[in-house]
């Protein structure tokens, strides 16, 4: 893409603003929903992307391996300021949470087997499990009701959790089957 193809405003995005805006998202997105914060920043707050561009990048983020929110920061950063922009957006996004987990993680490591910490963590872990179940249910959405989807979801689960195959093997078995089921149809 040549510079003349870019909207005027993109050339004005400063690296420091890019850093600060993603840093804010990384620091305030307690309890998930980070993609929603990114959407608000990119489309509404700064208008760095059109809604259409955002949906396109979101689709790539979800198709490619890696965390969706991080992938989206890579794509938006690259769109705005090239490779350097991608690096800056990702670093800013993960910096606050990284410091947070390290501080708590170091406290945990030095206090393992402390009865107080263990009682609290038992409750926290149970809730984290409930949260993960809720997120899985919600992300699954309509898929839970469609036979076509269930024909992929259930074998994937069985191969992974019951047959205990390793993940590369599960993907090697399930991906070709799933892609065949969802292959593009002529005329659709």
């Amino acid at each position: 893409m040549t510079p003349s193809d870019l909207p005027i405003e993109n050339s004005r995005v400063s690296l420091s603003d890019l850093f600060v805006q993603f840093l804010i998202i990384g620091a305030v997105s307690f309890g998930g929903g980070i993609l929603a914060y990114e959407r608000i920043l990119l489309i509404e707050k700064r208008r760095w992307l059109t809604a259409d561009e955002f949906m396109g990048y979101l689709a790539i983020s979800q198709t490619m391996p890696g965390l969706n929110s991080v992938n989206l920061a890579v794509l938006a950063g690259d769109h705005l300021r090239g490779a350097l922009g991608a690096c800056i957006a990702v670093i800013a996004l993960i910096l606050p949470g990284s410091l947070f987990v390290l501080v708590i993680g170091i406290a945990y490591t030095t206090n393992t087997d402390h009865p107080l910490a263990n009682h609290i963590l038992t409750g926290v872990a149970a809730a984290a499990c409930g949260l993960l179940a809720a997120i899985t249910y919600r992300i699954g959405g309509e898929h839970w009701k469609h036979l076509k989807s269930l024909l992929i979801i259930i074998p994937t689960f069985m191969l992974m959790s019951i047959a205990k195959l390793n993940l590369p093997l599960v993907l090697l078995i399930m991906a070709p089957i799933a892609i065949y089921i969802y292959r593009p149809r002529a005329g659709s």
Binding site: L67, G97, S98, V124, A125, T156, P168, L171
Partner: protein
Amino acid sequence: MTQLISLAACFGLLSLLAVGGGTAVLPEMQTLLAHQFGIDHLRFVHIYSIGQIAPGPNMLMVLVIGFQIAGLIGAGVVLLSFFLPSSILCFYAGRIWDRFGESPWRRSIQNALEPISIGLMASGVYSVAKASIVSPITLGLALLTLYLILRTKINPVFVILGSGALGFFLLKFL
């Protein structure tokens, strides 16, 4: 040194396998860590749950695992090996995408990967549940959380912290 290399290899592999987001690799991560680094399932689930309280992308807890295995250098190695490979891949995918635009196959692949990652997430729930639901009290707390997250708009962080406090009192005084 060999430990750092195997740590980098382990998380680099997980990075590239994380289709549909980080939670899809939870069961694989749990297995790999137990086999290669002796992190038992309970400890893994504790670290995982700490990560759910943190802001930012939901898998930053991998840093704590790196820290447990090899200190701050371990955390750094895990950070790079878990985030760099997938980010580089996505970076080039984005550039190729800008050049080629919409193809019916991209839609197909995305549609196909969605139910696979849901199946993998279900496996993630199963493996976290096996380590975290160990008594009627923990089952109750997990179900209560599930209900609150699905039916109310309370921020998950408060639900998790509340469950920690409630769990503490129930386990200590019952």
